[in-house]
Amino acid sequence: MLNRLTLTEVSAQLAQRKVSAREVMQACLDQIHRVDPKIHAFLSVNPEDALAQAEAADKARQPDATATHRPLLGVPIAIKDVLAVKNQPLSCGSKILGRYVSPYDATVIEKLKAAGAVVFGRLNMDEFAMGSSTENSAFIATRNPWDASRIPGGSSGGSAAAVVADECIASLGSDTGGSVRQPAALCGCVGLKPTYGRVSRYGLVAFASSLDQIGPLGKTVKDAALVLEAISGYDVRDATSIQQDVPAYAQTLNGDIKGLKLGLPKEYFVGGIDPEVNQAVRVAIQQLEKLGAELVEISLPHTDYAIATYYIIATAEASANLARFDGIRYGQRVAGADPIALYCQTRGAGFGPEVKRRILLGTYVLSSGYHDAYYLRAQKVRTLIRQDFLKAFEQVDLMVTPTMPTPAFKIGEKVDDPLQMYLSDIFTISCNLAGICGLSLPCGFSQNPKLPIGLQLLGKPLGEGILLNAAQAYEQSTAWHREKPVLG
């Protein structure tokens, strides 16, 4: 049952040579074999390659090495299908890429490999990260490990489900409007969206370039901290990455949050929140207060405009980002009499309905005559939203909110109502618009059925250290992170 361990535990056992990386990897592969036909977290796994990497990690281990020396050495980490891994398929949950195999490694993958991690698997996702349920995958809908009739959240649904179903030790996802935090909340694990620019986006297939960030999902806060530490840092290949040293996030976790000023944005505690979610979050806030945090009510006045702003900016950028999938140089091609016909046929057949909807929306908001009314105005509102946050952060160190207004909904429940689906991101979207960091961690369960509830903490730009420390203080004072779903 090595696959059930946390990253911190696996790392310690590997360092003490109680187990081998090969054994850990094999345990994960066995679990995938056992449960993934039901969960569908993975689109593909290459067991030989994963085991070979694990064996290489075992060989690379120095006799006197400790876990803190190379904490990720030999640890299986699964990857969302939106990140380029050399010689592995890259489909972004879409048909349009066909049998495309990436010829290069994303920067985060290079970093994980350099840290000795076993980088394996392609995790399911909403097509091109567009969605909140993983139902928009062109291949299959991932199931929530707590209830297979329900969605795991999205778009990094595979990344969250795989961690919670113990099919990997940790995973990487991407978060454009909540795509790491929201599935982490709905599946019951820790998911972190770093500050924009903290982690290089090179090798992350872009959905909305000014909002996208790669983030870790793990079984505990410390696990997430360890992965974040490995993947962060300035990258010459990403002009938007920030030139600032990476702190030793995991080592500085001390559980001490006495005097921490915790903001409660009043706009986030209004109607529309499921009562059990509301109750769980309230209790969690009391717990944080008991741990020494000081609660401060704050205001983020432009919150109401966040969803509209987000869907204009994100779709505008997406309409350009996805233009390269044209069947000319790679991916699936449907022939046409001339280039335009080829584009139309290829994209018509290759993209799913949600992707098409967003490309159309994005094309529309950038069109001459509409550009100023939509795109330009949205950019202005985005600035106001960011200012809301920066102003509030003058008073508080962190903010606390629910991650999702409800627990996981049923598969198919919202597919015909895109607007309802978009509202699932209501608490997570502003974090991306403001470029700050955010984290979701388990804070309870609904009663019947038993489904995880997530607590969201939001931190200042480059405030990941404080964010993780508060999250860990809460986590260690509760038992939610130890709860495991019963998998059939």
Partner: protein, 474 residues
């Protein structure tokens, strides 16, 4: 009714950088198809652009050379359209806040100084190249992502000849400044033309027509020579022109309609989120400013003014920059800048070519040529002797004075000595003396030659002629 043309030009030039605009691939012409490519310039999923610093510097430098302004804030934008030669199906360019604004190009047209104002020069990326085969098409992406500077003129041009002169002047400036090699054959320069016509004296502009697909400056001139009369003819016949884009058909020598305004692309520009805006600092700009060179026209005018040189000499020094610079480094030592120019252009340049050496290989000191000119002008050596002296100086590095002394070449200007040679010559050649007295002027030259011979070439020929004439007439 008389009509006039209003012309504006958009000129694209490839910047002279080692690598492409967003990646490390070589910026080089002529490599086998799709060999100078990588995930970034192929637009593979997940890649990001990283700006080429030298391209940013060259853009600012071009702005300075073209007498424009470098805004303290500039950004890149995405221009969206689908075409097989575009890896991302958007081009990264600069839409409303380019890296340079304003400026002008000055040049001579029909002997008059002419000026065309510039709107802007902005940086963008080149696209790939389509090839069509029997049953299929292919794209070579070697060129995709090469840094491209688009220089947009104001509609200040009025004729095909003016457009041609402007393009050549612009090219000279860009080559001079090291911005671009501007090699037409390699497609390093391309231009689009906007042209309209209107009745002379009318203020409002006519319908603007864009012409594309000229692959040389003379092509642009020919296209305008065709298009301007075409537009005038339409109006004269009472017809109407519509705003459209036309294609120059070089083979047929005509322009053909490509698309009208209704079919124009909506490029849906928006700021490139993968790149940060450019905010040049004082230090950065100062560094670029150090690379500013004197422009060809200004250099020519200065050489003519400062050294009183004729046009031909000034042009030689403009076209051969090192030679001109060498000239400037030595000319201060002389009172005869024109003579020094003659020596540098006629003798030094010939010797360099003959020996296949460069100015860097010169053995003699910078003082040599002015010194040589001084020796000639003070009558110490003849200009014929000077040739011999220069050859020796060039070969050995010895100063002209040293050579003259070593070889005993000092010219004899002393009247007494020359008189002696003259008397000898007259005595030895009675026939020539007779001829001269009979009015055959050529005989004097013969006698002068004899004097030179007797003096072993050292007699000052002018003095010798004077003395001979006096003696024969006296």
């Amino acid at each position: 009714m008389e009509y006039e043309a209003v012309i504006g030009l958009e000129t694209h030039v490839q910047l002279k950088t080692k690598s492409k605009m967003w990646c490390g691939c070589a910026n080089e012409f002529g490599a086998p198809p799709n060999t100078n490519v990588c995930p970034v310039c192929l637009g593979l999923p997940g890649v990001l652009p990283v700006p080429n610093e030298e391209a940013l510097r060259l853009t600012a430098l071009a702005g300075l050379l073209l007498q424009g302004d470098i805004p303290r804030f500039a950004k890149f934008d995405r221009k969206n359209y689908f075409y097989p030669d575009m890896p991302k199906n958007y081009q990264i360019t600069q839409y409303d806040q380019p890296s340079t604004i304003n400026g002008q190009v000055e040049f001579e047209l029909d002997g008059r100084l002419t000026r065309v104002r510039l709107t802007r020069a902005h940086l963008e990326e080149d696209v790939g190249k389509n090839f069509h085969f029997d049953r299929s098409s292919g794209v070579d992406f070697n060129r995709a992502g090469v840094p491209l500077l688009e220089i947009v003129s104001e509609p200040d041009l009025t004729s095909a000849d003016m457009a041609y002169a402007y393009l050549n002047a612009l090219k000279d400036i860009l080559i001079y400044g090291g911005i671009s090699d501007c090699d037409m054959e390699k497609g390093m320069v391309r231009c689009d033309v906007n042209v309209s016509v209107r009745p002379k004296g009318q203020k409002e502009l006519g319908q603007k027509i864009e012409i594309k697909n000229m692959n040389s400056f003379s092509g642009a001139r020919k296209a305008l020579e065709y298009e301007i009369p075409r537009q005038i003819e339409v109006l004269q016949k009472g017809g109407k022109l519509v705003q459209e884009t036309r294609r120059w058909n070089d083979v047929a020598g005509i322009t053909e309609s490509m698309r009208t305004k209704e079919m124009a692309h909506d490029y849906r520009y928006f700021p490139e989120p993968d790149l940060l805006p450019m905010v040049p600092t004082d230090a950065w700009l100062a560094e670029v400013r150090q690379r500013v060179v004197e422009l060809p026209l200004a250099r020519k005018q200065r050489f003519m003014r400062q050294y009183q040189l004729p046009v031909a000499d000034a042009e030689t020094f403009v076209n051969d920059v090192p030679l001109g610079s060498y000239y400037e480094s030595i000319v201060a030592q002389t009172k005869s800048p024109k003579s020094v120019a003659n020596w540098v252009i006629n003798n030094l340049r010939a010797k360099l070519t003959e020996t296949q050496t460069t100015l860097a290989d010169l053995k003699f000191p910078a003082t040599a040529i002015p010194e040589l000119v001084g020796l000639v002008e003070s009558g110490q050596i003849s200009s014929k002797t000077a040739q011999e002296v220069f050859a020796e100086t060039f070969a050995t590095g010895e100063s002209p004075a040293q050579v003259v002394q070593k070889k005993g070449l000092l010219q004899v200007s002393d009247t007494g000595a020359i008189e002696k040679f003259c008397d000898e010559a007259i005595a030895a050649n009675p026939k020539s003396v007779e001829d001269f007295r009979a009015g055959k002027g050529a005989a004097l030259n013969f006698l002068k030659g004899q004097v030179m011979k007797l003096s072993k070439g050292k007699a000052n020929p002018a003095r010798a002629g004077e003395i001979l004439e006096q003696k024969l007439k006296g």
